[in-house]
């Protein structure tokens, strides 16, 4: 299980390529990956940049707890969560969640579970810069339907 909070831009595909699995790759039949990027529009308004604040200490602890909960619920081989903080520009990667398991069902479900818990519970906050000023994002879009 690996959790990273990054103050600088990161390349999710490089992070995946560099990740060292705890078992031989031949044992991982399934890898599920979610990557979230910053959009240049929100609620109909153009967004020039975004600042992501977090609660150092609680953030890492909460993300590790989410991954541990997923690992206790599904048969997983490994998990990787990377999340940006600081100032972001449109198209910048915000979050990477990757789950490795023997079979796809566990990988898909655990990846979704980690991502949804992260969105609804992990202590991050977005502040958007618009042409006419800045505003805090009040809530995330719904995930599970």
């Amino acid at each position: 299980m690996t959790v990273r909070v990054m103050g600088e831009a990161f390349d999710p595909w490089r992070a995946l390529a560099d990740h060292v699995l705890p078992v031989p790759a031949a044992q991982c039949g399934a890898t599920a990956v979610f990557v979230g990027h910053m959009r240049d529009v929100n609620e109909g308004d153009a967004v020039a940049r975004m600042e992501l604040e977090h609660y150092p200490g609680m953030t890492e602890r909460h993300l590790e707890a989410i991954c541990a909960a997923a690992a206790s619920r599904w048969a997983l081989i490994d998990t990787l969560v990377v999340h940006r903080v600081g100032v972001l520009a449109p198209a910048d990667p915000i979050v990477l969640v990757a789950v490795w398991s023997a079979h796809r069902a566990e990988a898909f479900e655990a990846c979704r579970f980690i991502m949804e818990d992260l969105k609804s519970r992990a202590p991050f906050w977005k502040k958007e810069t618009l042409p006419e000023g800045s505003r805090w994002v009040e809530m995330n879009t719904p995930g599970h339907t």
Binding site: M58, I94, V95, L118, R121, A122, F124, W125, N140
Partner: protein
């Protein structure tokens, strides 16, 4: 004999502070730390709270040396 109180994001902006130490007293709750630190300001609706980096309730007891945080709904990911 203190409790560290932290605010984040829009709550820190609206209250005008991020970090305060308040005196610990017997039978103190998380809500009491808000009352001590906020100088009479009401706790805004929908605010979440944590004690020592874990989500908690407003009536959760607070011990000497604890860190208590208040923040708005989260918007990461």
């Amino acid at each position: 004999m203190t409790v560290q109180v932290k605010l984040f994001a829009s709550l820190a902006a609206s209250q005008g502070w991020r970090d305060k130490a308040v005196a610990h007293r017997a039978a103190m709750s998380v809500h009491d730390t808000w009352r001590e630190a906020a100088g009479g300001a009401a706790l805004p609706p929908r605010v979440l709270c944590a004690r020592n980096h874990e989500y908690c309730r407003l009536d959760t007891p607070v011990a000497d040396g604890d860190e208590v945080a208040f923040f708005p709904p989260v918007t990461g990911g």
